[in-house]
Amino acid sequence: MPRQNEFPLLMELGAPGRRAYLLPQLDVPARPIDELIPSPYLRSEPAPLPELSELEVVRHYTGLSRRNHGVDVGFYPLGSCTMKYNPKVNEDLAFLPGFASLHPYQPEETVQGALQLMYELEQYLCEIAGLQRATLTPAAGAHGELTGLMLIKAYQEDRGEGHRDEIIIPDSAHGTNPASAAMCGYKVVEVKSNDRGGVCVDALREVVGPQTAGLMLTNPNTLGLFEEDILTISELVHDAGGLLYYDGANANAIMGKCRPGDMGFDVVHFNLHKTFSTPHGGGGPGSGPIVVRESLIPFLPVPVVERREEAAQAGASLEEIPSQFFLDFDRPKSIGKVKGFYGNFLVLVRAYAYIRSMGPEGLRLASEDAVLSANYLMRGLSPFFDLPYDRTCKHEFVISARQQKAEGVTAQDIAKRLLDYGVHAPTVYFPLIVEEALMIEPTETESKAALDAFLEVMFRIAEEAKESPQGLTTAPHHTVVGRLDETQAARHPVVRWQQGTEEGTPNDHR
C-alpha cells in the first residue's frame, strides 16, 4: 500500500487491455505485418507500456501537476534563472496552427511568415545586444555558449591563430562556462574575483596572453554586480588578440540600459527563457540565440534567415513580394550545424511576442524594475543576513547564511523552510566563492506586496534560526514529501521502475 503522501507511479496504474485513445480503423487493405517487414526486424512482444483509461491518465498528471511549484503558483526568486511571469497570450500565439503545424522541410514559399518572424527577432536581438548578426539555432544558454565558443575557435583558426587554446573564466562564473569551453576543446584558466566581487584586473593581466582565445563573462556577474572595469577588461583581452564572450543569463538587468556590444563583447548569448519571458517548462525547452560582431558573421552555423535584396531595400510586405525570405545554407566558412533544423521555433515565437508587447521603453522599465526590486529586497534582508558584497546590485544579489550557520542552520535549511511558506527557494551554494550563499532574483513582474511578503517570511525564518533551529534543520514540514535523501539516491541509483519491485531495485549492481 502506498503511504499517505505517496503518489502511485504511472506503471502501477491501469489494467491489461484498458485503452485511453483509439485510432481510426485502418482504411487501406491490411496485410500481415511480417509480410511488410521481415520478422527478424520485428519485436517479438509489444513494448511493456502502461494500459490506462483516459480519465486515469488525466487524474494522474493533474495530480502530479498539483505536486509542483511554478511561477503561476507562487514567488520564485531563483537567482540567475529569471523566473518572471510568462504571458498567457504568448502561449496561444505559439500554438497557432500556422506555427505549430509547420514542417521544417516545407517549401520556403509556404513558411514566409515564420521566416519573417525569425528575421525580425534576429534584428531585435541584435539591437538589444548592440551587435550585427545572430543565429537563433541554439536550444539553451549552454548550447549558445558552445556555439559561441565554436565561432571564436573558427575565427581564431581562420586568422592563423588556431594555437590559442585557453579560455579565461572568472571564479564566479556559471558552471556551464567551463563545461562549454571543455566541450570546445579549450583549456580553462580561472581568474579570481576582487574584494568588490568583480574580476580582479591584475590577476587577469597575469593570465591573458598570446595563448588566450577568449574570455567568458557574465555581466552583471553571478553576484548580481556590474563589472565596473568592463572596459579595461575588454581592452586587455582584445589587445592580447582574444575575443569576449557574454553569458547572457543575467541580461535581465541591462535591457535598454547598456549593451554587451558597447562593452566590447564580440559574442553574446541570450536566454530567451529567462530575459524574454518564455516559460521554462520544468527544465526546458529553452532557446539560446547567439549575437555576434561583424568579424564573426562568416562562421555562424547554417542556416541563417536572409531577405532578398530588393525586398529588404523596399521594406516590402509579403503581399507585395512573396517569397522574400529564405534560409541560407551556402556559407563556406560556417562552423556547420549545432542542432537539427532551425532552433526551438515555438520558443522564438513567444520571445518575439514578448518584445513586441513591451517595446523599447517597456524593456528598459523591466530591467529598471528588476534592479529596483532586487535592491529593495537586498536592503530589507541586510539586517538579518550577511551581505558579502555591500554595493548596489543589479537584478539579483547574494546573501550569506554564515551568521545562521553559527546557530547550526545552513543555507540549505533556510531554502527548505521557505518551501513551507509557499515560496520557491533561492539558488543555494552558488556562486561558489560565497560561503552559505543564497542567490535571490525577484524579477520585475512581482508586486511590492509580494516582495514585502517575502521579506516578512525571511525575517521569520531568521528568527526561527535563533529560537527553534530544529524546525529549520528538519524542514520542509508542509510539502507533499519531507526532505528527500539525496545521498541515498546517488549511492544506490534507482532510475526506473521495475515490475515486482515496489521499492525499486538499485540499478547499480556493484
Partner: protein, 451 residues
C-alpha cells in the same frame, strides 16, 4: 503608458527607492561606465496591446501553410501523428509549464516523478537499462552519444553511414571537430549500410559506429549484423531510432546497442517547424555515470515516503565544471513531458497500432506509386514508413502540382544529398497513420497527371 507585465506602480517605485536610500532609478545604474550607458531608447517597434499583438502575429502565421489544412507526405526526422487532445490539456497545466528545473525536489515532485516515469518508458521501449531526462533533440543527442563514446573508449574517431540523416551527421561533425575527433562517413549506394564496409575501421581508434534505424531513406539497416561485428571490439554501437517505430521494431538492446538516442518529436509533440522537440538517450547500466544530462532517481524522506530527486549530479557542469560529462543544463523537459503523456495515453496496444498503421499505409502508398508509369522505388529492401521514389519528371514539377492541389509532397533528396546527382529527382515520402486513404488516393491522382 502602462505595461501589463510590470507590477510596480509609480508610487511604489518611489517608496522603494526611498526605502533603499536612492533618489532615482539612475542611482541604481551609476556603476555602469558613463560612456556605455544608453541615453536613448532602443530602436525597436513600439509596444502592442494584447489584442493588437494577436492581430499582428496571427497575420504572420496566416502567411504560412499549416499542415492542419494540407495533407503532407514529409518526414525525414519530423513526423505528423495523431495526438490525443488530452496531451495538450495535461502538459499545458501551468504548474508544469512555469516551473524551472526541479532543484527543490520537495515542491517539484510533479516534474520529477513524470521524468522518472519517462526514464522507465524509454528503457521499456529501447530495452536498455538506464535513460537520462532528455537532451535538446535527436541530432544533438547523437552528437552527445558520440562524445560519450569517445570519453568511454579513449578513441579518436566515429564512424557512420551515408544513410544517417545528413543534418544529424553535420551536427555530429560540428561537435567532433571542436574536440579534434574525426567523423568517417561510409557511402551507402544501395540505401543501406554494408556491414562488411566497417572492416577497415574496426580498431581501438574507433569509439563508435552510429546507425539510424530506420535510416533516412526509411530503410531498415542490418542492425543485428552490425551489432555482431562490433561484439568483442572496444567500439560502441550507437543506434538512433524513431520511438514510434519501436511499437513494432526490435528494441535496440536486442541488436547490441550500447547507447540509444533519438528525437522524441513523434511522441505527441507538434511539428513546430522543427523545434522544440526532445532528444532521448538510454544506455547500459555500466555507463550510467558517463551519461550527459540530468537523471532522476528514486529515494525517500525521513518518514520513508517515496520521492524523486535529481541524482548523480557529480557528472554535471554545476558541480564538475570543466570535467563534466557535458555542458547541458536546460534540456527539453516540457517536450519530454508531452512525450510521456502521449505514451501513457497510447499505451501498450495503442503505440503498436500506430506503428502498424504507419507501416501499412506507407507500404500501400509505395506499391501504388511504383505502379504508376515512370515512377520507381529508388532502393529495394525492407522499410518502415518512409520510402524514396524516382520521379519521371524534375521534382519541382511534382511538388508544384501537388501544392496546387493542397498537398505537401515528399522531400526532394536533392536538398539533403546535393552531392548525389543520381538521386536528383528522388522524393522521400512519409506516410503515417494521420494520412487517410482519401488523401493517399488524391496524391496518386495528382502524381498520375504529372507529365
Amino acid at each position: 503608458m502602462g505595461y501589463p507585465y510590470l507590477a510596480l506602480t509609480r508610487q511604489e517605485r518611489q517608496e522603494m527607492l526611498s526605502a533603499i536610500g536612492a533618489t532615482s532609478t539612475a542611482d541604481l545604474f551609476s556603476d555602469i561606465p558613463r560612456e556605455i550607458l544608453l541615453q536613448e531608447n532602443l530602436d525597436l517597434p513600439e509596444p502592442l496591446t494584447e489584442s493588437e499583438l494577436v492581430r499582428h502575429v496571427r497575420k504572420l502565421s496566416d502567411c504560412n501553410i499549416s499542415l492542419d489544412t494540407h495533407a503532407s507526405f514529409l518526414g525525414a526526422g519530423v513526423y505528423q501523428h495523431l495526438i490525443p487532445r488530452a496531451v495538450y490539456h495535461l502538459a499545458n497545466r501551468a504548474e508544469f509549464v512555469t516551473a524551472y528545473t526541479p532543484y527543490q525536489a520537495e515542491i517539484s515532485q510533479g516534474v520529477l516523478q513524470a521524468t522518472f516515469e519517462y526514464q522507465t518508458l524509454i528503457c521499456n521501449l529501447t530495452g536498455m537499462d538506464v535513460a537520462n531526462a532528455s537532451l535538446y533533440d535527436g541530432a544533438t543527442g547523437l552528437a552527445e552519444a558520440a562524445l560519450m563514446a569517445l570519453a568511454i573508449t579513449g578513441g579518436s574517431r566515429v564512424v557512420t553511414f551515408e544513410s544517417m540523416h545528413p543534418d544529424y551527421r553535420v551536427v555530429v561533425d560540428t561537435y567532433l571537430r571542436a574536440v579534434d575527433a574525426e567523423l568517417v562517413v561510409i557511402p551507402t549506394d544501395q540505401g543501406v549500410a554494408d556491414p562488411t564496409a566497417l572492416e577497415p575501421f574496426l580498431g581501438k581508434e574507433t569509439a563508435a559506429v552510429l546507425i539510424q534505424q530506420p535510416n533516412l531513406f526509411g530503410l531498415l539497416e542490418s542492425a543485428s549484423e552490425i551489432g555482431a561485428r562490433l561484439e568483442g571490439t572496444p567500439t560502441l554501437l550507437v543506434a538512433c531510432v524513431n520511438p514510434i517505430s519501436l511499437g513494432i521494431l526490435q528494441p535496440p538492446a536486442a541488436y547490441g546497442a550500447d547507447i540509444v538516442v533519438g528525437d522524441g518529436q513523434p511522441l505527441g509533440n507538434p511539428l513546430a517547424f522543427g523545434g522544440p522537440s526532445f532528444g532521448f538517450m538510454a544506455t547500459r547500466q555500466k555507463f550510467i555515470r558517463r551519461m550527459p544530462g540530468r537523471i532522476v532517481g528514486q529515494t525517500q524522506d525521513g518518514e520513508g515516503n517515496r520521492g524523486f530527486v535529481l541524482t548523480l549530479q557529480t557528472r554535471e557542469q554545476h558541480i564538475r565544471r570543466q570535467r563534466a560529462t557535458s555542458n547541458i543544463c536546460t534540456n527539453a523537459a516540457h517536450s519530454m513531458l508531452i512525450g510521456t503523456i502521449y505514451l501513457a495515453l497510447l499505451g501498450k496496444e495503442g503505440l503498436r497500432e500506430v506503428a502498424i498503421q504507419c507501416a501499412q499505409k506507407a507500404h500501400f502508398t509505395a506499391e501504388r506509386i511504383s505502379a504508376l508509369s515512370g515512377w520507381e522505388l529508388l532502393f529495394e529492401g525492407p522499410f518502415y514508413h518512409e520510402f524514396a521514389v524516382q520521379a519521371p519528371v524534375p521534382w519541382p514539377q511534382v511538388n508544384a502540382a501537388l501544392l496546387k492541389e493542397g498537398i505537401i509532397g515528399g522531400l526532394p533528396l536533392a536538398k539533403l544529398y546535393p552531392e548525389r546527382p543520381e538521386w536528383e529527382n528522388a522524393l522521400l515520402f512519409c506516410v503515417t497513420e494521420a494520412r487517410t486513404a482519401d488523401e493517399i488516393e488524391h496524391l496518386l491522382q495528382v502524381l498520375k497527371g504529372v507529365k
